[in-house]
């Protein structure tokens, strides 16, 4: 269904002029995405909101790798997001690690957790897969709640504010919102390039094949379970990176980050923007957070507005904002 928006193979069947346009868009999708992210802070009402869009957009991109491209609906991605954030925070607060070491540790820890949860959950499929990932992520939530001496428990993890970053002898003020945004954006941009590279690789074609028809992919000789596990782990890695960036941005790790509502929010953002499209998750995160930010200034019943918009999208525009825009452009 969404293959036309992502894979080069599907584009080859289009008329020449459209093909040229779409092929160029796909070829340039990483630079174009980065350009959009560069401009983002100057069009949004605040830098804090822009940084959140960046982080949650990256989170949704990571999730989209699994949900949009591999076709697995996970309800447990808050665990990897939270693991990245907590490990980064703990590394700085308890062990005095430098920010880049803490960041690397957070990503690796989130990836490992994704690998373990992946092994346990990809044996199941459909609704059972969603339930198993949800249950396992709730285990992570309660672990963080109980291990209060490490995580701060209910009060959240605090005491690791990074005021200045030293970038190989060059010190920048990390409390300055503009500097902070662009430093974090470098990591998001690298992750975007990484995801794009995965999707363009033969492995990218395999996971899309699994999404389209698992039995046929198996019949073609692909190791479906292993491919799913790799996709799950890679997705967890990207989400963990988003978590480490959030920890650096907010300088706290709230316990709510591991709550199943966060997992639900990731699904909502991805669906809203367009599952299975490269830039869609960013659009979804932008739309969701912007609605929340603007509408909650205006009424305390903002959830009704956001919920209604979400329902309308699921009913009438199941491809999401970006997915629909791409499909509309292709039909023209």
């Amino acid at each position: 269904m969404t293959a036309s928006t992502s894979s080069v193979a599907a584009v080859a069947t289009r008329p020449t002029n459209r093909r040229g346009w779409r092929a160029r868009l796909i070829l340039w999708r990483v630079p174009l995405s980065i350009l959009a992210l560069c401009l983002l802070p100057w069009v949004l009402p605040s830098m804090a909101l822009a940084t959140n869009v960046l982080i949650y957009g990256l989170l949704a991109v990571g999730y989209n790798l699994l949900f949009g491209y591999t076709g697995l609906l996970s309800f447990g991605h808050a665990a990897f997001f939270g693991a990245g954030a907590y490990v980064t925070g703990i590394a700085i607060a308890q062990f005095g690690a430098s920010w880049y070491a803490a960041l690397a540790l957070g990503v690796v820890a989130g990836g490992l957790l994704a690998f373990v949860i992946g092994i346990l959950s990809i044996r199941t499929r459909g609704i059972y897969f969603s339930m198993v990932t949800l249950a396992l992520s709730q285990l992570v939530y309660y672990t963080a709640l109980q291990a209060a001496s490490w995580t701060g428990g209910e009060n959240g993890l605090r005491g690791f504010t990074v005021g200045q970053l030293d970038l190989f002898g060059w010190t920048v003020d990390f409390l300055d919102p503009v500097t902070k945004y662009y430093v974090l954006m470098v990591f998001a941009a690298a992750a975007l390039w990484f995801v794009s590279r995965i999707l363009n690789s033969p492995f990218g074609a395999v996971i899309e094949a699994i999404r389209e028809n698992e039995t046929r992919a198996r019949a073609c000789g692909y190791h479906v379970e292993r491919s799913k596990l790799i996709a799950f782990t890679l997705s967890g890695l990207i989400c963990a990176l988003a978590g480490t960036l959030l920890a650096l941005h907010l300088a706290i790790v709230p316990l709510d980050i591991l709550h199943y509502q966060t997992s639900g929010m990731i699904v909502m953002m991805t669906l809203l923007g367009g599952a299975g499209s490269f830039f869609g998750p960013f659009v979804g995160a932008l739309a969701f957070l912007l609605m929340e930010d603007v509408v909650s200034l205006w009424t305390s019943h903002w959830q009704i507005v956001v919920g209604t918009v979400f329902i309308l999208f699921v009913l009438f525009l199941p491809k999401g904002i970006w997915g629909t825009a791409l499909a509309w452009e292709a039909r023209r």
């Binding site: 605090r158 504010t161 907010l250 300088a251 709230p254 909650s296």
Partner: protein, 413 residues
């Protein structure tokens, strides 16, 4: 461009003078605004979520405090503006909103929050950026040296002083106490406070049961609590949890067997559930409107609040919004403006009486030293009007001796 001759008589000097005047006229409002720039105070509070009722009272009272100051001509001639933001009872959201208030709205100070986790998040953000924060939510953690910020002042009571005052009125030597505790920071801190007071007063604990935050059903806990045969059932939870737990305890007849005691007797929950279930329940409070019978500042606060809100009485958590914002504005007035260091010095030196008698901030941890009220919920027949919910059993006067000592909190002696 309608005539080719243009304006023949305009010399270069005239043009320059004209430009200069024009620039000055355009710049005027900026210059004027820079002189009388409004003082902006950020107010993050959970307008959505389970504590929304308390949060709305906080906003109303904080707005009243700002209005009263503006009616008097503002702070050092500058108007004050309150920027209310919904923190959704979520620490991450609160941190984002606080960043927004500081970076985009350029607020001069922050007041607010209504949960331990949220206020600690706001505290972390303001501490790193050197912005004054007046916290109006109960917490023991924020007093401790690890989370101390010289920019943060804790206006609310803390669990230690609340439980000490309530226990002093209810616990006797040999009293058997059973605890039903919400399993999160608030419940744990209240339990710790009560157990400390219990040891000092010679009461004994006959058991404690933890319940999950936001539980709706307490029926499975009640037979266990009954079998402990306590003299006092101490229910340590907040918001709707308190209402649900008390209602079900009364359904099980626990109020006939034991005195029900809560750390904080919540005005809004008593209103929501009604006089029957709450009858005879004893708990602490920072404020109750009937203080007006003995304290003139309470009378003034009540009258102003009623005038602004169609005759409604201020509530306990609402009063925090009023006292917190008022103390900050008083200090800004003393400091002659919002300059951070001067305002901190003014707050540390301030003794204020805005609603409940004299208060001041302790030097070492910036905890507001203030009276604690111990209230008992009235029978319906004894209520003189709709808002006459409680009788005041005791007013524990504010004293630094009622707080944990500075050295215990980890501050250098």
């Amino acid at each position: 461009m309608k005539s080719r001759t243009g304006i023949p008589s305009a010399s270069r000097r005239d043009v320059l003078a004209g430009f200069a005047t024009g620039t000055a006229v355009i710049a005027m409002p900026w210059v004027a605004r820079a002189q009388a720039e409004t003082i902006r105070i950020g107010f993050p509070t959970p307008l959505t979520g389970p504590f929304a009722a308390e949060a709305k009272d906080q906003v109303k009272s904080a707005e009243l405090a700002v209005k009263l100051v503006n009616d008097r001509g503002g702070v050092a001639g500058r108007k004050v503006e309150l920027l209310v933001r919904d923190d959704k009872l979520n620490a991450g959201e609160a941190a984002t909103r606080t960043l927004e208030l500081i970076e985009k709205d350029k607020v001069h100070a922050i007041v607010g929050a209504l949960s331990s986790a949220v206020q600690l998040a706001v505290n972390e953000v303001t501490r790193a950026r050197g912005v004054i924060y007046v916290s109006i939510s109960q917490s023991d953690t924020i007093n401790e040296v690890k989370d101390f910020s010289r920019f943060t002042f804790h206006e609310a009571l803390n669990p230690h002083m609340t439980t000490a005052a309530v226990a002093k009125q209810t616990f006797k030597p040999g009293t058997k106490v059973a605890y039903l505790v919400a399993d999160y920071a608030y419940g744990h801190e209240m339990l710790r406070g009560f157990k400390r007071a219990q040891a000092a007063l010679g009461a004994v604990s006959v058991g404690e049961i933890l319940h999950p935050f936001g539980a709706a059903d307490y029926s499975t806990f009640m037979p266990r609590l009954r079998s402990m045969r306590p003299d006092i059932l101490c229910i340590c939870n907040f918001g709707r949890d308190q209402a649900n737990a008390i209602k079900q305890a009364v359904d099980f007849g626990m109020n006939r067997q034991a005195q029900i005691v809560v750390p904080v007797l919540l005005n809004n929950q008593r209103l929501a559930i009604g006089a029957e279930a709450f009858e005879g329940v004893i708990g602490g409070a920072n404020y109750y409107w009937r203080l007006e019978e003995t304290i003139p500042s309470a009378k003034a606060f009540n009258d102003a609040f009623k005038a602004a809100n169609g005759g409604a009485y201020p509530t306990d958590y609402g009063a925090y919004g009023f006292t917190g914002v008022s103390a900050l504005l008083l200090a800004m007035e003393k400091a002659g403006g919002p300059d951070t260091d001067k305002v901190i010095a003014a707050l540390e030196a301030l003794t204020y009486d805005v609603a409940k008698g004299p208060q001041h901030y302790r030097k070492c941890d910036h905890q507001s030293v203030q009276s604690v009220l111990v209230l008992k919920s009235k029978k319906k027949a004894d209520m003189k009007n709709e808002a006459d919910l409680f009788e005041i059993l005791a007013i524990e006067p504010g004293s630094e001796a009622a707080l944990r000592s500075c050295t215990e909190l980890g501050f250098p002696a």
